[in-house]
Amino acid sequence: MKAGQWQRVCRFLALLAVAVFVLSYPVTWFITRNGQLIQRVIPADASVSALFGDSGPGTPFGERGVYLIGDPAAFLEGTGAKGERFVSQTYLDEKGIYPLQTKTVWFFHFFVVLVSGVGALIFGVVWWSLNRRRGARSAPSL
């Protein structure tokens, strides 16, 4: 491959990496925009809950977290002390839904940003270096 071709390839990859880096933010925001603070519960009979002195919709399952749950049928009535909505873990199990956490989405976003950032830097430096060398060769000799 000639230097000119390498230069074009590196420029393309550098610009692509920058585009991915920049676009990853609004894309991640778009994916996580419907995240809600949720407490998963295993619904329990009210009379059984009363034995434990519980007044909520069931047995809490795990800690509260911000989840992306698109199925409205999974939600139960009421909200918790911190405004969290209740979601039936039994319903999620029956439907085979493994709820996605916004934490997971932002984790993968971090890697996209890291890889694209490093890629933009490497290809950018190589492109600049090739460009400089090409410029030096085309400069008229005295």
């Binding site: 009979d45 997971t104 984790f107």
Partner: protein, 213 residues
């Protein structure tokens, strides 16, 4: 003299009432599943990792509770079948059972045995006990809620599960460090998986079940 006899009788009655009663956590309460589930004993473990917090659970919880309602004290043993814990991801469940993590393949039991019980307030207790995980035993302190209900107040739905006697509804939450139990992994050292594991247990124990002689 009469006053002395009355006081002594009252004291004896009080002492008789103050005797601890043994309640069993039975597999009978673990059988109902799905939307029609009335209640099932449950134990959960929650772990924080760098990309998600996950919760593992099992309904395979057994044991015995000794509870003195008058003296507000008691004790017991809780056994959780660690091998039956599921997290929703099969690969993770398999990993969890290996020697690198909880080693449930070789040490399936998570066992908690009470050392001392202190009534904190009303139905809330501070329980000190020995927890055994991966064959290692360490002392832990758990916050436990114990609520007694006589057989007459037990819902029919539970009686249909075979719970016929008085019940004690127990719920507990405590945290441990995996490293305290010999669970050391590069993912923990790298901070990708938290060393802390939160455990909760919610069970119903009774002094009489169908099938008891």
């Amino acid at each position: 003299m009469k006053k002395f006899i009355v006081t002594l009788s009252a004291l004896l009655v009080h002492v008789a009432l103050a005797a601890p009663v043994e309640y069993r956590i039975s597999q009978q309460t673990n059988t109902a599943r799905g939307s029609n589930q009335v209640f099932a004993n449950i134990a959960t473990v929650e772990s924080e990792t760098d990309f998600e917090n996950f919760t593992g659970r099992t309904n395979n919880v057994t044991g015995t509770l000794s509870f003195d309602r008058e003296a507000k004290t008691g004790g017991g043993t809780l056994i959780i079948n660690g091998k039956s814990i599921v997290t929703g991801v099969d690969l993770r469940d398999e990993d969890m059972r290996t020697k690198a993590w909880m080693d449930f393949d070789n040490n399936p039991e998570i066992r908690f045995e009470t050392i001392r019980v202190l009534n904190y307030r009303e139905d809330v207790y501070r329980v000190r006990g020995n927890l055994t995980l991966k064959g290692v035993t360490k002392e832990v302190v758990a916050r436990v809620t114990m609520k007694y209900s006589p057989a007459s107040r037990v819902p029919t739905s539970l009686k249909n599960l075979g719970i016929l006697g008085d019940v004690v509804a127990m719920s507990s939450k405590f945290s441990i460090k995996l490293s305290d139990f010999g669970i050391k992994h590069p993912a923990i050292d790298a901070g990708r998986v938290s060393d802390r594991l939160d455990m909760t247990v919610k069970v119903i124990a009774s002094d009489k079940y169908s099938g008891d002689k």
